[in-house]
């Protein structure tokens, strides 16, 4: 069974590109465009990995990350944070809140795909 990925992003064009990339890599992809949708989607069916944008409406990426990490049931979900904020503190904050990796926009599609594959394959 294909690994499932939840893309949380509010910018439609970026969603489209991530969807395309992840499908191409052979993953099952779902999309959420704000924090609440994201948490609902996780509750509905926990994904193996979340590509989580930080600047999203309603509940931001940090909030979503923290909420997921506070639930032991979701302990094995990988989280990669995506952000347009390039500062080191932002990165540290993401890691501290339990993100597995942190990617700054604009990102290299190859690198991102490699990171996702590495995490999900290593889990097997």
């Amino acid at each position: 069974m294909a690994k499932s990925i939840l893309v949380v992003e509010d910018e439609p064009n970026i969603v489209l590109s991530l969807q395309f990339l992840m499908k191409k890599a052979g993953f099952d992809v779902r999309v959420a465009s704000d924090g609440e949708q994201a948490l609902a989607a996780v509750e509905d069916r926990a994904p193996d990995l979340i590509l989580l944008d930080v600047m999203i409406p309603k509940r931001d990426g940090y909030d979503v990350c923290q909420t997921i990490r506070s639930n032991p049931d979701y302990g094995d979900i990988y989280i990669i944070m995506l952000t347009a904020k390039g500062r080191e503190v932002d990165r540290e904050k993401g890691i501290a809140l339990g993100a597995n990796d942190y990617v700054t926009k604009p990102f290299s599609t190859r690198d991102l795909t490699e990171k996702v594959k590495l995490l999900l394959q290593g889990a097997d």
């Binding site: 910018e11 064009n13 489209l16 590109s17 990339l21 465009s33 347009a84 990102f107 290299s108």
Partner: protein
């Protein structure tokens, strides 16, 4: 030769008439119909300046030195004609402070000092004594001339005749009685001796008429008018010499100055000019009437002098007696008797006023302070002190005339009349620096005045008084010739080698130099006490608008009941007068209830001032202080404490001010720092937000480019789709960069505005048509409503188009797809055009409406939660509108669309 009894009867008859006038004057005053309430009587009373010295001595001086007598009259003329501002200020100050004498004036100015008042009194008595003895001398000498002519020898004085000593003595006694009768009827010295003033004015008339009569007799009786008289005088070489100025030369300036000072510093002149003044406006007439009087009485001085010199062989008759000798020699005894009465007027007038003035000083500034200090317990037992005050004054008058007589007997003979008068002038002049500085320089201090007057007086005594003793044989003659202790530099008539000035000018130079120098130097180095500062201010600023009555009222820190204050005042003023004074205060203050309880500081000060009118400022102060409760603190200490407290207060106020300034500066600094931090934060946020906004389209572009690059087998339609995204995101990126640049330019004022008159309707049309496709694509209808004519606005057309496009695209963005409606309306106001752009979108939540124009404040679509723009469009709109002088705002109800308004001012007509 006139029989003695006739002279005696005429004299006594004249004095009786004088007394009748004085009595009548006082009666009229009591009835409230003052006799002296006119400027002419005031001016005539000031003419008491012309004494027997003028009457007899001027002629004598003219016979010796020509016009040398004139400076004595030039000085007062200058003082009244040009220095009346000074006189007016002295009068005003004295009225305000109920000044009773020149000693009181000086003492009051310099902190109500006993010591200073006493010093001035002593100097006045010593200095004026020769002058009084001079009058006694003149009366007895003139009596002698009438009695013995023509046997009279060439010696002007007949002091060696035993009869004469007696005559002068009886004259002194008679004058004492008159002075007492005239001068001490009332005790309130400020209550004006109206009878005395009336009598003095009458005397001035008599002496003027008498002198002019003699002058006319000589000029037109003995000679054929001025021309004849002067022609004959010029023919005599000895007399002709007198008509040149060489005789007096360098003496003129110093003598004129001396007379200028004397005319207000002599105690009797201060008395008539200042203390007895009933109306300040009288001075306006006196400033020309008095000089006119001086002119008239001097017209015939030279004719009489020359007439005497022509008529009598040189040296046979003393020139000081020409006024009497000429009528006698020419068989006009009645005129001679009239002239004698004129001389008597001049002498008695001076003596009466001088003794009254001096007795006031002796009583108020010498005796009372001492009695109040050392014998206070005895005085406190007395219910009524007014009797004591009168007794002291009467005793003083007797005492003054007694020592005047003694001076006459022991010393007087060695001096010519003129010299004696000038010696007194020079003594009185020592008060001038302290008085003048006191009125115009607040810094003049008590210590400065005390040392200055003392120093000036000592120099005066050394250079004028002691030599007169030496000439009389009281001191060894070598004192004058070789100087004290045989030291050349200390020769009293040539101090430190200064020779050739004349005794008077020499003494005046040194004494005033010491006096003024000391006053200035000591005052500058000194620190004034509080009461000194208060008095200095009150004196110097006496004319200040609004008055200074309230100043100093609060220096009385103790409390005193109204009844205690009243009973204290009664002891000096009597119950009737006290009642009047308290009633006057209540009337002035418009109090409808009788005063009770503790007296206000103002009432205490009021009573103190009225009391100073009776016993002088310094004594009044002691009396009031003695009634104040809380005597644990003495007055001096109290003043010191107040002084120190005020210094500490001053110091701490300065400190406080400084720390306030520091605090202010530091809070300003803090605010600036906060503002800087804020700006820094804003710059940070701006950069971070800009970066974020740039990264987003960049992310799409890069991702799809890489996808296209890495996926060669991509289908054509998908390829086209992705390329379209790349193109649109590139456009977005470009737009964003432009907006950031525009906003930065607007914010920093670097935007180049192409200002012109703009038709805003045309601008709207242009904007709408340029967005035509966008609206059609989303099926949005656009309505434009506008008046038929609209005036042009002032603005930059391109920027206004940009503004309209921003608002229209915002409206388009928020309109629901399919049935969107955008309404644009233009409306003319009085000064500006208002444009509104309304959509039927979801509207803007109320909490967002305020922040919506801030940069990077993005409104997200409720449905998608996506940001709808860069967050810069509205910020740019606001920048444009505000630059053009308009306003931009939004009205919206969530669910019912939003309407953006902006205004642009019309072109100014």
């Amino acid at each position: 030769m006139i029989p003695g009894w006739l002279i005696a009867v005429a004299s006594l008859g004249y004095l009786t008439l004088l007394f009748a006038i004085a009595y009548y004057g006082d009666r009229r005053s009591d009835e409230g119909r003052s006799l002296i309430l006119n400027p002419y009587i005031y001016a005539f009373s000031i003419a008491v300046y012309c004494t027997a010295w003028t009457f007899y001595g001027s002629v004598g001086l003219a016979a010796r030195s020509g016009v040398g007598f004139l400076p004595i009259y030039l000085g007062p003329t200058l003082m009244f004609a040009f220095g009346w501002v000074v006189l007016r200020k002295i009068i005003r100050i004295s009225k305000v402070h109920h000044i009773t004498s020149i000693a009181d004036f000086v003492s009051s100015r310099y902190g109500k000092s006993h010591v200073l008042g006493g010093l001035v009194s002593v100097i006045a008595v010593i200095g004026i004594m020769p002058y009084i003895s001079l009058q006694l001398d003149a009366i007895s000498a003139s009596f002698n001339v009438l009695l013995n002519y023509p046997e009279l020898s060439n010696s002007g004085s007949a002091i060696d005749l035993p009869l004469f000593g007696d005559t002068a003595f009886w004259v002194a006694v008679l004058l004492a009685v008159f002075s007492i009768l005239f001068g001490t009827r009332h005790i309130d010295a400020t209550e004006h001796h109206e009878g005395m003033v009336a009598a003095i004015a009458f005397e001035s008339v008599v002496k003027l008429v008498a002198f002019i009569s003699v002058g006319v007799f000589v000029t037109f009786g003995l000679f054929d008018g001025f021309g004849d008289l002067f022609a004959r005088a010029a023919a005599e070489p000895t007399i002709a010499k007198l008509m040149t100025m060489e005789v007096v030369g360098a003496q003129w300036a110093p003598l004129t100055l001396l007379a200028m000072l004397a005319v207000f510093c002599l105690p009797r002149q201060f008395q008539v000019t200042v203390v007895e003044n009933v109306d300040e406006n009288h001075l306006n007439k006196a400033i020309w009437l008095f000089p006119l009087y001086l002119l008239l009485i001097n017209i015939f001085v030279l004719p009489i002098a020359f007439g005497g010199l022509l008529r009598f062989p040189l040296g046979t008759v003393d020139a000081d007696t020409y006024v009497l000798a000429l009528p006698l020699a020419e068989g006009a005894p009645a005129l001679a008797l009239f002239a004698f009465i004129g001389g008597l007027s001049a002498a008695t007038g001076m003596v009466i006023v001088a003794t009254v003035a001096l007795s006031t000083m002796i009583c108020n500034d010498l005796i009372m302070p001492v009695l109040l200090r050392f014998a206070w317990l005895h005085l406190s037992e007395k219910k009524d002190l007014s009797g004591l005050l009168l007794a002291i004054r009467r005793g003083s008058i007797g005492f003054i005339l007694l020592i005047g007589y003694l001076y006459f007997v022991l010393i007087g003979e060695s001096y010519a009349l003129v010299s004696i008068g000038l010696v007194s002038f020079a003594a009185a002049a020592q008060f001038a620096p302290a008085i003048l500085a006191g009125m115009y320089w607040k810094g003049a201090s008590h210590r400065g005045a005390l040392l200055a007057i003392s120093g000036g007086f000592l120099v005066w005594a050394y250079t004028l008084l002691l030599p007169s003793f030496a000439l009389s044989g009281w001191l060894p003659a070598g004192f004058v010739e070789r100087g004290a202790f045989g030291i050349e530099l200390l020769k009293p008539y040539a101090l430190f080698g200064l020779d050739g000035l004349g005794h008077i000018s020499h003494a005046l130079f040194w004494s005033l130099l010491v006096n003024v120098g000391t006053l200035v130097v000591v005052s500058l180095l000194d620190r004034q006490s509080m009461i000194e500062r208060i008095q200095a201010t009150l004196f110097v600023e006496v004319f200040r608008q609004g008055g200074t009555a309230g100043v100093g009222a609060n220096i009385w820190q103790g409390s005193v009941s109204v009844s205690d204050l009243r009973s204290m005042a009664e002891r000096f003023l009597g119950s009737e007068r006290t009642h009047e004074i308290f009633a006057e205060y209540a009337r002035n203050k418009q109090l409808d209830r009788p005063m009770a309880g503790n007296a206000s500081g103002e009432l205490v000060q009021f009573v103190e001032r009225r009391l100073s009118g009776v016993i002088g400022a310094a004594s009044a102060r002691v009396m009031v202080a003695s009634t104040l409760k809380g005597e644990g603190v003495g007055l001096e200490e109290l003043m010191q404490i107040l002084d120190e407290t005020s210094q500490v207060l001053e110091y701490s106020r300065q400190l406080e001010q400084k720390s306030e300034q520091l605090e202010h500066a530091s809070s300003e600094l803090k605010a600036a720092n906060e503002r800087l931090t804020e700006l820094d934060q804003m710059k940070d946020d701006f950069l971070s937000t800009v970066t974020h906004e740039l990264r987003t389209p960049l992310t799409s572009i890069r991702s799809f480019s890489e996808i296209l690059h890495d996926t060669p087998d991509l289908g054509l339609s998908e390829r086209q789709h992705f390329l379209g995204i790349i193109i649109r995101e590139s456009e977005r990126l470009t737009r964003l960069i432009n907006q950031v640049l525009d906003l930065t330019k607007i914010e920093r004022g670097r935007m180049e505005w192409q200002m012109s008159d703009v038709d805003l309707a045309e601008v709207i049309d242009h904007a709408v048509s340029s967005m035509h496709h966008l609206f059609e694509e989303k099926n949005v209808t656009v309505d434009i409503r506008q008046p038929e004519t609209i005036p042009p606005v002032r603005g930059d057309r391109d920027q206004l188009i940009q503004l309209a496009i921003n608002l229209l695209s915002n409206a388009e963005k928020f309109c629901p797809g399919g049935n969107g409606r955008v309404e644009v309306a233009l409306e003319s106001g009085p000064k500006a055009l208002t444009v509104s752009v309304a959509d039927n979108g979801p509207g803007i939540p109320e909490h967002e409406q305020e922040n919506i124009f801030e940069k990077f404040h993005q409104v997200r679509s409720d449905q998608t939660g996506n940001p709808m723009g860069s967050g810069l469009g509205l910020a740019i709109c606001r920048g444009i509108v505000e630059h053009l002088g308009g306003r931009i705002w939004v009205r919206s109800k969530p669910g019912h669309g939003a309407t953006f308004f902006f205004t642009v001012p019309f072109v100014k007509q």
